[in-house]
Point group: C2
Chain length 190, copies 2
DNA sequence: GTCTATATTCAGATAGAC
DNA sequence: GTCTATCTGAATATAGAC
C-alpha cells in the first residue's frame, strides 16, 4: 500500500538519523535502505528538512499533551512527578527514534522552527519545574534550586532512548520506570 | 604567536562544533570565525577529522585519569561517588565544549576510532558501576539495578555542558556540585 | 603563515519518460 | 510510484605564489 511505503520511509529515516545524525544521513542513505532511487523519496516529503520537522513536532506535541493532562489532574506534586517520568519512559520505549530528535535532532531545525521548538521546550520545562516547586513548598521535597532539580530529573532519563533503540538491550520498561521513580523521588525527597 | 593561533583555532572550532554539530560545521565556518582563508586551517590539522580526534581523546584521557585516581583512593563508595561527580562538574565547567564531544561528537569518529572510544567508555562506566555496586553491598546504597543506577547518576549531569557553554547561564560550579551530590546520594541512599 | 586558485567529490533537488 | 539523467551548490582538500 502507498501509506505503508510512506510509513516505512519515515521509520527507516528516523533510524538512520538516530545513528548517523541528521547532517550525517543523506537522502542517498535513505534510498539505499528502502532499495529505491533518491528521486522516489520526494514522493513522501518535499525536502529533507520535512522529515525532521514533521517527525519532531509530532512527538513533541504528544509529549506535551501528556504533560498537560498530568498537570491538570488531581495528584500531589510527588504523584504528578511520578506520572511525568512514567509518561517519558513509556514514550521513549515506544518511540526511541522520535525521542532521539527531541534530544539531539532539534539542533538542525531551521532558525524559525528551532526558535519555536526551544520556546515550547522551555515552557514545558517550566511546567515540570512548577510541580517540583509545589512539592518543595508542600514540604514533600527537599529545598534544592528548582531549575537545577528539574534539569537533573529530566536529564537522568535522557540515556533511555539510546538504550531502547539498541537491539542488544532489553530493559523491561515497567521495571525501569519503577526504579527511576525510586531514584528520583528519594533524590528529591526530604 | 604561532601556538596562540593554533589554540584559537581549536577553541573556535569546538565552539562551532558544539553549537552546529560536527557535520554541520564546515571548514569555511571555522575560517570565517578566524578571519582567514580555508587553506590556512590545514596548517594546524591535516584534516577536519583531526580536530575531533585530537580534542576528543585528550579530554577523554583527562576524565579517565581522574576517575582512576579516585577509585584507587581510600574512600567509602559514597565518598568515591561524590568525588566522581565533583570531577565531572569541574571538568564540565572548565571545558564545556570538550565535554560536548564526549556527549555528542563521538558519533562522528571514524569506525575504528569510534570502536576504541566506545570500548573505553564502557570500561569506565563499569568502573563507576563497581563503586555503586560496592555501596550497595556495604548497605550504604539501596539495591537498584547497578547498570540502571550508573546510567541515571551519570546522565543526571549530562545537561551541564550545555548550560555552562551558554553565556547567559552563570551557575556557581561549587554550589551545583553540592546540590547534585545531595540529589544523587539521597537518590541512591537507603 | 597567509593568500589565490582549483581539483574532486558529494549533497539536495528536479525534469521527464515509463 | 518508479526509474534515468542531470543541474546546482557546497564541502574537503591541495598546489603553488608571496
Amino acid at each position: 500500500m502507498a501509506t505503508d511505503r510512506r510509513l516505512q520511509f519515515f521509520e527507516e529515516s528516523l533510524q538512520l538519523i538516530h545513528h548517523q545524525g541528521y547532517k550525517g544521513t543523506t537522502m542517498r542513505d535513505i534510498a539505499t535502505k528502502l532499495k529505491c532511487d533518491v528521486a522516489n523519496l520526494y514522493n513522501f516529503v518535499k525536502s529533507k528538512e520535512e522529515i525532521l520537522d514533521i517527525s519532531l513536532f509530532r512527538i513533541n506535541e504528544e509529549f506535551h499533551d501528556g504533560i498537560d493532562a498530568i498537570i491538570e489532574s488531581k495528584h500531589t506534586p510527588v504523584g504528578k512527578l511520578r506520572l511525568i517520568t512514567q509518561l517519558y519512559v513509556r514514550l521513549t520505549h515506544e518511540k526511541p527514534y522520535e525521542i532521539s530528535l527531541l534530544v539531539n535532532g532539534w539542533r538542525h531545525l531551521s532558525h524559525q522552527k528551532k526558535k519555536k521548538f526551544l520556546a515550547e521546550r522551555t515552557a514545558y520545562e517550566k511546567k515540570v519545574q512548577r510541580v517540583i516547586q509545589e512539592g518543595m513548598d508542600a514540604g514533600e521535597m527537599k529545598a534544592l534550586d528548582p531549575v537545577l532539580a528539574t534539569n537533573m530529573v529530566l536529564s537522568a532519563m535522557r540515556w533511555l532512548f539510546d538504550s531502547f533503540a539498541d537491539q542488544k538491550s532489553d530493559w523491561n520498561p515497567v521495571e525501569v520506570e519503577r526504579q527511576i521513580n525510586e531514584f528520583v523521588v528519594s533524590g528529591l525527597g526530604v
